[in-house]
């Protein structure tokens, strides 16, 4: 039964291999991809169901007992992330069926997408720091490929920045792993959590913690390391942007939650204080960047950053309520942000531009699409009763309870500016009269709209039936803040 943990990694890896073997037939690549992502979604949902019954599912790969082998661990947080990954993957593949140009498919679009998924789920499920590094690299290499498919000038420029900063972050991660291994002699996360309690050189640990923090913050796109994100995320085709926006930065956030919720919790006053300021400035700089932009995808890219700030803020406050809010934020945000990117692809199909100033009249022309845009947009801004409201509410309530007045004030203010940005897109692209220069519109492909509608429905469900999701987040937070249960699950109760 424990082998279930391996399925979310195995399925995309196999799918990657199969689609690679079907190199010449884009038709079969599409079929296999839809089937594989559906299978992935099923496997991850089964895994999540099992985890909700047992609390933890641990697989010691190859039968090597922890801490000597590599452990794969599925707890609430990991399994939630894997399920959401499945949702994003499935919708993105559906969306790719009609929107991905054949030139991209001919050069390995689907194999890369599956390998990316394997890397992402590996990063979520692993219980070993070095293994986390390996999955990060799998994910990065696939994302390099996806980012540069097409080979346009903007893509090349974006890719150089993206590749450089991510390799720098990886090198930092690797050095931190080396020093940590030299200090405590283990890399298994549960074992680290045990052994770090006894290490007396807190200064050295703080230095290592900061190296991890910087490395993961670069990947998460947190202040002041986010500049690569708005410079590259808008360059590939929309399905790729959507997957990146939904998943990649969130892997960085997940790693922060894992490392600063389980391993480096010895000196919270130091590490989490830095995270707090990081969160505050991430929120602010992201939303201000978005306010100055008039290109839909760049506005959305900047909003990834500002929303990452909320998640980091929640981690920094580090109370059960805050972590619950952060977890809720994570899965709400992945769905909403992916959806917004997909919608921007549809508007591009209709008006052939991403520049807000030359768009217009979409509400009159496509009321249904406009409604589909309003759901995730208002949810992102945090209007009740949509999912974003509850996410922000939890984080802000946690801020007030733990008396972080400044951070809470900034979070509220950023929410307002987010609303401004979304209204800006609404007013420019949907509400104002259609510019005369625009020609007749095309028919929207069915498989472009279905994924958007699916995700909008999911946003509505998370919003209107928020209680089970909030309970789930609270259970996750409780589990995350109780490292001893994680340690017992992985190491089998032995010290």
């Amino acid at each position: 039964m424990n082998n279930l943990v391996f399925l979310p990694i195995l399925i995309p890896l196999l799918a990657g291999a199969i689609t690679l073997a079907l190199w010449r037939s884009s038709k079969w690549q599409k079929r296999v991809s839809v089937f594989a992502t559906l299978l992935y979604l099923t496997a991850s949902a089964t895994l999540a169901w099992q985890v909700s019954q047992q609390g933890y599912i641990v697989l010691q790969v190859g039968g090597w007992q922890a801490p000597f082998g590599i452990s794969l661990v599925a707890d609430y947080l990991a399994s939630i992330m894997v399920v959401v990954t499945g949702i994003v993957a499935f919708t993105a593949v559906l969306y790719s069926l009609v929107t991905t140009p054949n030139t991209h498919i001919k050069f390995g679009y689907f194999p890369l997408l599956h390998i990316l998924l394997a890397g992402v789920s590996g990063a979520f499920l692993t219980g070993d720091l070095f293994n986390l590094f390996v999955w990060f690299e799998v994910m990065l290499l696939a994302s390099f490929g996806l980012l540069t498919l097409g080979g346009e000038r903007a893509q090349m420029e974006g890719a150089i920045k993206y590749v450089t900063i991510n390799l720098f972050s990886s090198a930092l991660f690797l050095s931190a792993i080396g020093i940590l291994y030299g200090t405590v002699g283990t890399l298994n996360m549960a074992d680290l959590a045990v052994k770090l309690q006894d290490v007396e050189q807190q200064g050295l640990l703080n230095a290592i913690a900061l190296m991890f923090m910087v490395s993961f913050s670069i990947k998460a796109g947190a202040f002041p390391f986010f500049f690569w994100l708005p410079a590259s995320y808008h360059t590939p085709i929309i399905a790729v942007s959507a997957v990146f926006a939904g998943l990649l930065t969130k892997v960085g956030v997940y790693a922060l939650y894992r490392v600063f919720g389980l391993i480096f919790i010895g000196d919270i006053n130091f590490t989490h204080q830095i995270l707090l300021w990081m969160g505050v400035f991430t929120m602010l700089s992201g939303v201000l960047g978005a306010a100055s932009q008039f290109e839909i995808r760049r506005i959305l890219s900047f909003h990834i950053i500002s929303q990452i700030g909320y998640m980091i803020l929640a981690l920094a406050i580090f109370t059960p309520l805050a972590i619950a809010g952060g977890v809720f934020y994570l899965f709400h945000h992945i769905i909403v942000k992916t959806n917004l990117f997909l919608i921007s692809g549809m508007t591009h199909l209709l008006q052939n531009t991403y520049q807000l100033k030359s768009m217009g009249g979409l509400y009159r022309e496509r009321p249904f699409l406009a409604a589909l845009f309003l759901i995730p947009a208002m949810s992102l801004a945090g209007l009740p009763p949509l999912s974003g409201f509850f996410a922000k509410y939890l984080v802000i309530e946690a801020g007030i309870v733990s008396q972080q007045w400044l951070a809470t004030g900034v979070a509220l203010f950023v929410g307002l500016l987010t609303l401004y940005s979304m209204i800006k897109i609404w007013a420019e692209a949907f509400w104002k009269a259609k510019p005369e220069t625009l020609s007749e519109t095309v028919k929207l492909p069915l498989w472009g709209v279905v994924p958007i509608a699916l995700m909008a429905i999911m946003t509505l469900i998370i919003g209107f039936a928020a209680e089970p999701f909030i309970l789930l987040s609270q259970a996750t937070a409780e589990q995350l803040l109780n490292p001893q249960s994680y340690i017992n699950a992985v190491l089998g109760g032995q010290p």
Binding site: A171, L174, A231
Partner: protein
């Protein structure tokens, strides 16, 4: 020996960051190569430098004798080297393509996506 290695690693990191801050994309990739090597040396050094004691089992006791080198660090480095090789191969192709498409090797000219 450790102190010497530490200095060497420091110089490698400094050199790689200097190279990455240059404007030429070729020098950027050289910086990346130095960077991955520096990170590998950090693992190598911080796991402890042991000379002349390979981690071999004793035939009679089936236990390694005391004070052998730690083989795990070297396994980690081996993995990291392979990954770095793949990634660097990609970056070399990337700068080649970028040079073809953008018609320059000057990073300061590549700011179209930054407005």
């Amino acid at each position: 020996m450790s102190a010497l290695m530490a200095v060497a690693i420091g110089i490698l990191f400094a050199a790689s960051i200097y190279m990455m801050l240059r404007r030429s994309i070729v020098k950027l990739v050289m910086g990346l190569i130095l960077l991955s090597n520096a990170a590998n040396l950090v693992i190598f050094t911080s796991a402890g430098l042991t000379s002349g004691a390979p981690p071999l089992l004793d035939a009679a006791t089936k236990q390694p004798p005391a004070g052998v080198a730690d083989p795990l660090a070297q396994a980690l480095i081996l993995t990291a080297i392979v990954i770095a090789f793949g990634v660097l191969a990609f970056s070399v192709v990337l700068i080649h393509r970028a040079n073809e498409v953008v018609q320059t090797d000057d990073l300061d000219q590549m700011k179209e996506t930054d407005q």
